[in-house]
Symmetry: C3
């Protein structure tokens, strides 16, 4: 095989990130296509892409990295006083109090403690694409665990729940506020609702490659995990296919419907946490610290392993020990990784065109982040 | 070795459960004796038994599957409004407030959060067999952990605690209410207190076979686990022997003293959750969902590994991913497994005459349930 | 290699502890130096030492075993009614309420639930040695997790936090109260603040031997674990070196600055929990039970593995199943182990001159405790 062609630039001192990116491309195979972008201290320090059809500004499904975009909006609203994390959810959204959810606080909802990971009936593709339908259905749903007593990843519905709170509190959707503050306000190439004019930059996700010996799923799946991933609905789409549906991209579900480049992912966290192009960060240090504080940590009832969440974000440093305490971000099932590490003045974005198996942050992020943090260590404090 | 003889019947489409049962018998040895019974959509779909002296209606010690029987009574009382899960335990039982237990709620008690897993002095066999003596002793006991802050399996005393609440709230024992609603009211062959006339159907448990290299127990055991299993009492009986004592069977301790066939186990959960023989289920869908909701999940302080409890039941689907969310049931140390899976309209019961090592739900339940759930998957929705 | 010389005595029936101690010395190498002391039922039953320069009354850095000394003082204050575990920390220490810590209770602080494991800026050696400076800095620090919702080891600061509460409530330092009740009052050779006259008995800790293949630390460490161990401060000393600094020994930080012999460690827990030399124990049975009750158990956010704490102590029996429920104590990074096991009437102390890797209770404690508990099992109840 030919050595892969790596496009783009790295600032002086970041060459080893390029090397790590090239190695990932070489190791993964000839159809490997990915992007990696890093901001350091307000400037773009890494801007790389590789693979067939991939360009610097190619847009890919962001999957759950969309939750990161949505919850940056929530963070800004908390900073502005429009939302209060200590409030009960039903203060903003009275119907939410049904079925024993009346005491749940907003910070608990954002930390995946509501127990509202799916609906008994499941969602059609059309329903899943529409945050308002999802929210309306979940308001009357009985939680799968005692609200607040445990936590589990609200994989497909988190953004619909937080989005409904935002809409009730502000009269605007998360999508619209994201557009105002991040997309238009700060030139962030992240789309919670992709417009017609941007469609030609979108590249569909390639099918996930399952291992051949994978155990077949239940004939009639309805475990807690099945319900959280909507596998119990008769027309349930595979998660990896979701952004390939036009209606999912158009609606821009705050849980999973975003579309972005790695540049968009990194810039989104950069403009939120550091001065970029002479603009103050959208979140002040106090708000950054607030949304970097761990809220739920331990056994995730949906995923069945150790997870750590802040208010609406992954506590990303729980998975990469080189990162600083207070790092907050969100990975995506397509292989995405994205976060802000305020202690190191880093904002990071990574995308891939074919999801890894299992569908989660791609394993090459480990080596990319090793190289990146060694680089900034050498460049000094 | 001769192939084992499998007695009984399976409905059309459930033949693979019989095959799995036969394989378990073949693999385990010539003295293997077991029963397996399944209700599906209101009808008995599997009714099998095998082994020396074993008959369709043989009664075996139910061990902790007794807690399932007891807490079906609690569920019905909650449905009827006679008990409120949100209430403080000391509302019903004032003496329980001693030693820092005054704030504990009934739902926390049922979710093994009280920290009251045993008594400092331990219990003689006579005391352990009598729920009222156990309850009286535990009312004045200091909890082993801060009540509500953690959970651990109340192996030998759970039913005494919940039973005392029932007695205080209703004036009747759990055993008596179970008889009325389940044994006499719905022909369930499960006995919380075996009468003289049924004694001839009882088969004593055979000794558990310990592995020869097992580490000897502490010379003076009093760890939290030792106390929960009453090993610190000088005349402590082995758990596997308990139902072999007449007084244990007679008293029918709600924690461990029940006696049942697999038919009894399965029918108990069937009549609770589905229409059987033209009778409405004893629990309405809302109550079934309430008692299927996870209350405690994570590290069990007594057992030292991952466990998940609903209010008084195992969240059985946490251990078998094919089962539906909301499944509730209770295994037993003799190898029993029993549960209701309302999403699949399944009620399941399994017994064995010799406990497996370690004493818990027998490993053959994994294959039996694989076969069962494949069967209903093929039979369709 | 010559067989190591083991000094000291064991009471009749405890010979196997001497054998286990000799085996540890033989296995570890020629510069092995350690002490082991045990009280049983009010009398010294094991009093052993070995190795170059080591004497019966040699004083070594106690590291986190200091927290045990400090929290015996807290336990006594609770017994006397001078402190109330249910009170909010800010009741005693108003400045503590900053940054969302206003609801935290004293029992939560002591159970490592405050989330206040370090300061954003880190501490110089001078600062770290001074509990009052540490406390002042942490009062204004934002917690790293939501207070009360999780727990993690407050490795270098726990005693400064509990000490400030003590100072505010009583007008005296933990160090001074420890001197009064334990060092002078009960002849305990444990020094929270070593005086000039005792300096000649102090032996510096030998360097910890790191495995050669150990992964290098982050170039700019600031993970939660890094912050808890103060690695993010530019002049951060290695933890193993701390007691070798004169100012650390002089100030006697309640988190890590104590100095003790094994005799001191064992006698400290003995006089707290049993009658020694005709004196009543400093803690009554109720207080012992209170401080032996588990408060936090599960995944420790700082250490990344399973831990169990009581109020200010390790729930030591969670790590050694032979020990009784209600055991409380504290290990130290230099290899120390020390605890009271009231159910077995045991008080135990162990020291080493060179810390093991990883820095924690030395592995030979496992064999020593096996031998010890077999001994008392044979000696009878």
């Amino acid at each position: 095989m030919q050595p892969p062609i790596i496009h783009g630039t790295t600032a002086e001192g970041f060459e080893s990130v390029r090397t790590a990116f090239a190695r990932a491309a070489q190791a993964t195979g000839s159809d490997y296509a990915a992007q990696c972008c890093v901001y350091w201290r307000g400037h773009c320090a890494v801007d790389l892409w590789t693979g067939p059809q991939m360009k610097a500004d190619t847009l890919l499904g962001a999957y759950s990295a969309s939750k990161g975009a949505a919850h940056l909006v929530v963070a800004r609203l908390v900073q502005d006083g429009a939302l209060d994390l200590q409030q009960k959810v039903c203060h903003y959204w009275p119907a939410f109090a049904a079925e024993g959810k009346g005491e749940l606080r907003l910070h608990e909802l954002l930390a995946h403690r509501a127990g509202l990971v799916g609906s008994d009936q499941g969602f059609s593709l059309e329903e899943l694409a529409d945050d308002r339908i999802v929210a309306e259905r979940l308001a009357v749903q009985r939680p799968f665990w005692r609200p607040g007593y445990a936590f589990g990843y609200h994989a497909l519905v988190m953004g619909a729940l937080s989005g409904e709170v935002v809409r009730r509190a502000t009269g605007q959707s998360i999508q619209s506020l994201f557009d105002t503050w991040f997309k238009r306000g700060a030139e962030v190439d992240f789309h919670l609702g992709l417009s017609d004019v941007e469609e030609d930059r979108f590249l569909p996700t390639l099918p996930i490659t399952m291992p051949p010996d994978r155990k077949p799923a239940s004939a009639r799946p309805c475990s807690l995990t099945d319900i959280a991933f909507n596998r119990h609905h008769p027309q349930s789409p595979a998660v990896w296919e979701l952004p390939n549906y036009l209606q999912v991209r158009r609606m821009g579900s705050a849980s999973l419907g975003g579309v972005a480049s790695a540049r968009g992912l990194a810039r989104m966290y950069a403009v939120a946490t550091m001065a970029v192009d002479g603009q103050e960060p959208l979140l002040d240090p106090r708000t950054q610290a607030c949304f970097g504080q761990i809220q739920s940590a331990g056994h995730d009832l949906v995923l069945g392993n150790y997870k750590a969440f802040t208010s609406g974000f992954h506590a990303t440093s729980s998975y990469y020990p080189l990162l600083g305490a207070g790092t907050f971000g969100h990975s995506g099932a397509g292989g995405q990784q994205a976060f802000a590490d305020p202690r190191h003045a880093i904002a990071y974005g990574f995308t891939r065109r074919r999801p890894p198996f299992p569908a989660a942050a791609a394993p090459e992020n480990d080596r990319l982040l090793d190289a990146l943090y060694q680089s900034i260590g050498k460049l000094g404090h």
